[in-house]
């Protein structure tokens, strides 16, 4: 059964320009689904729509978001926020700005346990230490007393991962969690997320523009272009035989691990214009 389902999710700018075009996707309980697309495709926008943190300039104009079978958009705002807070967590893209620079790390992990779930502060702190241990941070007590700027980027991302898993959410949305890190750290963090996801049996929506990462972490994937779902399938089928021409081009544009220096084909213009036409046709059909 899928834990998160969006049906015909439509997000527009205030001036009416579409950012998400009837996006339907599903993440099953305990499953990792990758969300792939080039920069500006609307990957983060999907995450933000689900989490209820769309930027002011954007507006959800249609569709449904079902979380654990319950339609979030029909809930009153307060209940919706409480539900999202209790069931969903976010691993943000940039560990540099994802921790508040003027607050110590500890309270930033325990806040949600105390505020949302009503834990006692002491319990929450014990839990935080346990989690930091789980993400392989040495001397967690000291780290909890530190300010973010005293820690390395990789360490901060580990803290954010620990923090995301703290309240045992059923779904985690990871928005390019490794993009801001350097390559060696990227691999460790990816492994860590995967490890934590399996151990806690959490559904994961993993946003990335790197198909190379997809095969390592996810079971299924959704390809997005200009806010429209281009292809939705499981990883094995996708890498064996992508259906859509754009997906094939995207795959050809990704470095192979067997041949990292092999020649790469950027997505050809002919294919871009083909998808553009498809999107335009889709828009025209919606208007009618």
């Amino acid at each position: 059964m899928s834990y998160l389902t969006t049906k015909d999710l439509t997000v527009r700018l205030r001036n009416g320009a579409p950012l998400l075009r009837k996006v339907s996707l599903a993440v099953k309980s305990g499953e990792v689904r990758a969300l792939v697309g080039e920069s500006g495709a609307g990957k983060s926008m999907i995450g933000k729509a689900v989490l209820g943190i769309l930027p002011r300039a954007a507006k959800l104009t249609g569709g449904e978001i079902l979380l654990d079978g319950e339609d979030l958009l029909t809930l009153p705002p307060k209940q919706r926020r409480a539900k999202i807070g209790a069931k969903v967590a976010l691993i943000p893209q940039d560990p540099l700005t994802a921790l508040n620079p003027s607050r110590r790390v500890g309270p930033q992990i325990t806040d949600r346990l105390v505020d949302i779930l009503g834990w006692k502060r002491k319990e929450a702190e014990d839990r935080a230490v346990e989690l930091l241990d789980e993400v392989h941070i040495q001397s967690p007590e000291r780290v909890m007393r530190s300010y973010p700027h005293e820690l390395s980027g990789g360490m901060r991302q580990r803290i954010l991962i620990a923090s995301a898993f703290a309240a045992e959410p059923k779904l985690i949305i990871a928005d390019e969690p490794t993009t801001a890190l350097d390559v060696t750290v990227q691999k460790q963090i990816l492994k860590l997320i995967r490890e934590m996801q399996e151990r806690h049996d959490t559904a994961l929506l993993f946003v990335t523009h790197d198909l190379g990462v997809v095969s390592k972490i996810s079971q299924s994937l959704t390809v997005l272009y200009a806010g429209k779902v281009i292809e939705e399938t499981d990883v094995r089928t996708f890498f064996a035989a992508p259906k859509h021409a754009y997906s094939r081009a995207l795959l050809a544009a990704t470095p192979k691990y067997t041949d990292p220096d092999g020649s790469l084909m950027p997505v050809p213009d002919s294919i871009i214009s083909e998808v553009e036409q498809e999107v335009a046709a889709f828009d025209a059909q919606l208007k009618r």
Partner: protein, 283 residues
Amino acid sequence: MRDARGQVRRMPGLRLWLSGSWLLILILAAVFAPMISPHDPLEQDLFAARLPPFWQQGADPAFLLGTDSLGRDLLSRMLYGARLALTVALVAGTLTCLVGATLGLIAGYYRGWADLVISRLVDIWMAFPPVLFAILLIAVLGTGLTSIIVAIVVIDWTRFSRVVRAEAMSQGAMDYVASAQVAGRSRLGIALAEILPNVLPTIVALLTLEMGIAVIVEAILSFVNLSISTDQPTWGGMIAEGRTSIYQAWWVLVFPLAALFLTVLSFSQLGEGLKDYFDPVLR
């Protein structure tokens, strides 16, 4: 002291100590003025007019910093003048900060129509030359301590709201705010617990700067005789009087001017020092 990465921390700056000491002395002087003043600041003695400060020839040790053209003791007048200067600095500075920073935080974090209204107001405010604005306000409100304070708050809140708005806006776009939202924190909670601590160093620097500005504004208004009743000693009033007898008795002008200068300088230096102190990254 070393931080977590083993780097040596900066010592609290010398300027923090110097400016802090001067302001502390001034506060003590203002509070205890009635006890430590050697003379009644209003007492005139025409036989002791224009006595020079103690190290000069013809000085009277009873008048340590000399007397003005009416024979009033300069030191006593400056001590009493400090009371008004500091009252205005602390009260007007704090009130201006509260009003301006609150509006700036609302505009920068809540955005929307509140931001529209506040930003438009700021634009309109900026169009007035501040000194003229102050004199106009005093003309309407009448002279007196309350009027000075109200005038400063009314004129200078934009100084805070502009800067705080810009900072709140850039902080509001950070991922940690998104995380707090997802975690279910209320908007007010985020504004106070997440955004405010990051804007605080700037607010503190602006606050002390504003206190210095308040001292100047009070001096200017006293200088043009618009501050409070004329018989109460003020630094600005003393400077105005001293200006007329600069060639016969320079000290009547120079001492209050020096006190004014040091005080304004100390406030701004204190702000810079405290800003570093409040900033976790620099601390």
